[in-house]
C-alpha cells in the first residue's frame, strides 16, 4: 500500500495507528522514495526542535513558572497568610537545627542543674523573714493593705508614717466667716 506524505508526517509524530505504522515501516524498508520523504520531513523537525542549534541557551521556563505565579498571586490577591504557607526545609538544615537544640538543652541542664537544686531552701524561707518596704501614697497605701489582707499571706503589717507631715490643698481656697468655721469644728 502506498502511504502519502500526511501518513509519514503523522508517523514522525507517533500519531499513526499501530497497524498502519507497522505497514509503513515495511514500506520504508523497500521503497526508497518513501524513505527519502521521511528523511526530508525529519530534517525539518531536527531544525525546528534543536534550539541548541543556535548556540544560545534556551529560556529558563522553570524560573518563569515561579516568577509568573508570584505575579499572579499578587494581581489576584491569592497570597496566603504566613501561617498557611507551605515551608520546605532541606533535610540537612533540619538535622543541624535539631542537633543545636539538643546541645543547648544539654548545656542548660548541665549548668542550670545546681541552681535548680537550691529551690527547696528558697521555698522553705518564711514570709516573716522577709522585710519588704513599699512606699505608697494615701489611697494607694489603703488599697495595698486591703489587697494584702485578702491574700491571707501576710500575718502582720506595720505602717510607718513619714517624719514630716505633708498636707495637700484640696480644691479652691474660700473665705468663710469665723462663726461658720467654729460651728464646723463642733
Amino acid at each position: 500500500m502506498y502511504h502519502n506524505g500526511e501518513d509519514i508526517s503523522a508517523y514522525l509524530d507517533g500519531e499513526l495507528a499501530s497497524e498502519a505504522a507497522a505497514e509503513l515501516e515495511r514500506e520504508l524498508e523497500t521503497d526508497p522514495y518513501a524513505r527519502a520523504e521521511l528523511d526530508r520531513l525529519r530534517t525539518v523537525d531536527q531544525l525546528l526542535g534543536s534550539e541548541s542549534l543556535s548556540g544560545e541557551e534556551g529560556p529558563d521556563f522553570e524560573s518563569s513558572r515561579e516568577r509568573t505565579w508570584m505575579a499572579l498571586e499578587h494581581r489576584l490577591g491569592l497570597r496566603q497568610p504566613l501561617w498557611k504557607r507551605r515551608v520546605t526545609l532541606p533535610y540537612p538544615a533540619v538535622a543541624a537545627a535539631a542537633v543545636a537544640v539538643f546541645v543547648l538543652v544539654g548545656l542548660l541542664l548541665w549548668f542550670g542543674g545546681p541552681q535548680l537544686g537550691n529551690a527547696p531552701s528558697v521555698a522553705g524561707t518564711s514570709v516573716r523573714d522577709v522585710d519588704v518596704h513599699i512606699a505608697a501614697g494615701g489611697t494607694e497605701g489603703e488599697k495595698l493593705l486591703r489587697w494584702l489582707n485578702e491574700q491571707e499571706v501576710v500575718g502582720a503589717a506595720s505602717v510607718e508614717l513619714p517624719d514630716v507631715a505633708q498636707f495637700r490643698i484640696m480644691g479652691e481656697p474660700r473665705l468663710i466667716k469665723a462663726a461658720e468655721f467654729r460651728s464646723r469644728g463642733e
Binding site: E6, S9, D45, S54, G55, P59, S64, T68, L72
Partner: protein
Amino acid sequence: MDRRAEFKAVYDEVYPLTVRIVYSITGRLHVAEELCQDAFIRYYQHMDTIPTREQAKFWLIRVSKNLALNHEKQRGRESTAYQRAYRQPVRGPESGETSVLKEEAYKAVQDALEELPENLRLVLVMREYGNLTYREIAESLEISEANVKVRMHRARERLAKVLKEADIYVP
C-alpha cells in the same frame, strides 16, 4: 479542593505548555509571561464555568495563543524585524565555519516559521514547542484531528521547501 488550590493545580500543569507556545510565537520570554498572566487571570475569573481540568487546559491554550497572535499583529511588520534582530543567536563556544552555518540554519528556520500562514504555523508550534498530541491540538484550535494531520504535513512541506531553496546546512 478550594478555588485557590484548584487554580494552582491547573497553573502548574498548563503554564509550561502555554508559555512555550506563546514564547515560540512572540520570541520574547517576558512578553510570553505577561500574556500568559493575562490568560490565567481570565481563566481565574471564568473557572466556575470551565468544569474539567482538561477543558481548562484547552481553554487556556486557546486564549493564550489568541493573545499572542493579537500581540504580534499589533506589533506589526516593523517590530517583526526587531524581533528577528532580537532573536539573533548569541555565538556559543563553538566557532568557525560550522558555527556560522548552524546560526544561518537556525535563523532560516525561524524566518521560515514566521512566514508560514497562521493556521499552519500554529499546529507546528503546538506540536514542536508545546508537545501536544493531535487530539489536544484539535481541541485547542477547535478543528478535527484529520485537519491537524493535514496542516502538520503542509507546514512541514512548506518549511522543507523553503529550507531546500535556501540550501540550508543541516548539522
